[in-house]
């Protein structure tokens, strides 16, 4: 829950530790789990807001927002259904939000980026499911400059971590192991390095690591030193590619004065420092929101609704659309400038 200035009054997220409750089921597929936990999470946020803001009652809400896509339909239907019901009962607008747009606008949360994040800026969204460069030209105006043609960056980290026998989540475990290794020890490919545009490809890099491991004698266990060298070499390859691709993306967007890195992979310190260096060399600022705001979260969804409501106030009001269906596919390019009416 956010106030009109983007200050977070209360927030809750179903914690990673809670995943055990699902008995190994991937949480986002479980619409039933959304159904089970979401009402309680909403109640908790309302209760916490009343503590943060004495005198607050739910009737004070001016709008309710929920992600309506893109993603797996079950969870989206449950989440947006709860949001719609709450909005309807309070007689306030429901704002359907594209959660990729929410990632794109997170940097604009007041106080997050020193000096603010005025449009236009370049967003690098790198997570388990996403790897793309987005030109954030303005509210509702986004251009996908490039993205992965196969695996997402976080997926590559997770799969290589799995190949190295590391636990879940793979990315942070691989980063820790890489600290002990030599990033120049093992030659690995740099897919698409130097290629025009800013597309990414990680499948071949993952395969190269798999083949490196498959080529070892079967009776010889992977020692820690070798695993660390592979981890460090893999991370260096990803960093080289990402730096190169983002340099190209900034070249495609000369009007940008800010590079924002979001998504779980942006928490990787090696990547972060490389991206900061690329930004610095091109004379643009660099910012990466904290991890809790980089992964999927409700704060960014509420903030996006505030941005849209503000724009709507200018354009003549938001019509809360109670009938907008959840969308498993929802390209950012289809974000209409008209608030509250996607697609």
């Amino acid at each position: 829950m956010l106030d009109g200035n983007g200050r977070v009054l209360a927030e809750a997220v179903l914690s990673q530790a809670g995943h055990a409750e699902f008995g190994g089921v991937v949480p986002e597929i479980a619409a039933r789990a959304h159904l089970l936990h979401l009402p309680e999470l909403a109640r908790r946020v309302l209760a916490e807001a009343a503590i943060a803001e004495p005198g607050f009652v739910p009737a004070d809400l001016v709008a309710v927002a929920a992600s309506t896509g893109p993603g797996l339909i079950g969870g989206l239907i449950v989440g947006s259904g709860l949001g719609r019901g709450l909005a309807l009962s309070l007689g306030v607008p429901f704002v359907p939000v594209n959660h990729i747009e929410a990632h794109a606008l997170t940097a604009r949360l007041p106080g997050l980026v020193p000096g603010g994040a005025e449009f236009p800026y370049l967003l690098l969204l790198v997570s388990g499911g996403h790897c793309q460069c987005i030109a954030v030209d303005g509210l509702g105006s986004y251009r996908r400059l490039g993205g992965t043609i196969d695996d997402a960056a976080g997926e590559a980290f997770d799969k290589v971590a799995k190949l190295l026998g590391l636990g879940w989540p793979g990315g942070p475990a691989l980063e820790r192991l890489a600290l002990e290794g030599d990033p120049a020890a093992i030659p690995l490919p740099r897919p698409l390095l130097g290629r025009a545009g800013c597309d990414f490809s990680f499948s071949g890099l993952k395969t190269a690591v798999a083949q490196r491991l498959a080529g070892r004698p079967a009776d010889q266990a992977l020692d820690r030193r070798e695993a660390a060298d592979l981890a460090a070499s893999f991370q260096a390859a990803v960093a080289d590619v990402m730096a190169d691709r983002v340099r190209h993306a900034l070249g495609m967007m000369p009007e940008a004065t800010l590079l924002v890195a979001a998504g779980g992979v942006a928490a990787n310190a090696t990547l972060r420092s490389r991206l900061a260096a690329v930004a610095s060399a091109q004379g643009v600022r660099f910012a990466a929101p904290p991890l809790r705001l980089c992964t999927d979260n409700a704060v960014m969804v509420a903030w996006t609704a505030i941005e849209r409501l503000r724009a709507g106030a200018v354009e003549g009001g938001v019509s809360g659309d109670l009938l907008t269906p959840a969308r498993p596919r929802w390209p950012l390019q289809e974000m209409a400038a008209t608030p509250g009416s996607p697609g």
């Binding site: 991937v26 499948s203 596919r329």
Partner: protein, 165 residues
């Protein structure tokens, strides 16, 4: 090509282009209700084959085929109707499949990576393609093909490296 056992044929795919050509050949023989299961370790070429198959099926050689690992399933529209590309790597069993729309997806074409997670839901009439890397050969793959007895000859009529018909 060699008969490994009565139901399985082994095929050497020497180059990446051969893996892609096999995907295109499968695409040319698909019917609604078919399931294609892609087996093999990480990096074996399952996604490469899937990408070629989906692009051929949707008649769009440049179509984006993102990895379905994190979304678990990606859906496409093809002249044959809906095609669902599942990646069950993150699942440890079939419990989540109903919520992923497995039953509805089966009415169209399903393409499944990591099909061992299907367990009891594994379709009996599936075409199964197992891919394995070839030692000391970065691009070579060994494909083990089983299922589709009625369409096997058509599938293997030409070497997979030949231009797709």
């Amino acid at each position: 090509m060699s008969e490994a056992d009565s139901g399985t044929v082994e095929l050497l795919l020497a180059r990446l282009a051969d893996t892609e050509a096999l995907g295109r050949r499968v695409a040319g023989l698909l019917r609604p209700g078919d399931s294609v299961l892609l087996e093999g370790p990480l990096g074996a070429g399952k996604s490469t084959l899937a990408r070629a198959l989906l692009r051929a099926l949707c008649r769009d050689p440049a179509m984006e085929v993102p990895s379905p690992t994190f979304t678990l399933v990606q859906e496409y529209e093809s002249p044959l109707g809906p095609v669902s590309h599942f990646d069950l790597w993150r699942l440890d069993g079939p419990a989540g499949l109903p919520e992923l729309g497995w039953e509805e997806a089966r009415e169209g074409v399903v393409l499944v990576e990591w099909p061992d997670r299907l367990q009891s839901l594994r379709p009996d009439d599936a075409l199964a393609i197992g891919l394995a890397p070839v030692v000391d050969d970065a691009d070579g793959r060994l494909a083990r093909i089983s299922g589709w007895p009625g369409r096997r000859d058509a599938l293997l009529a030409l070497p997979p490296g030949a231009p797709a018909g």
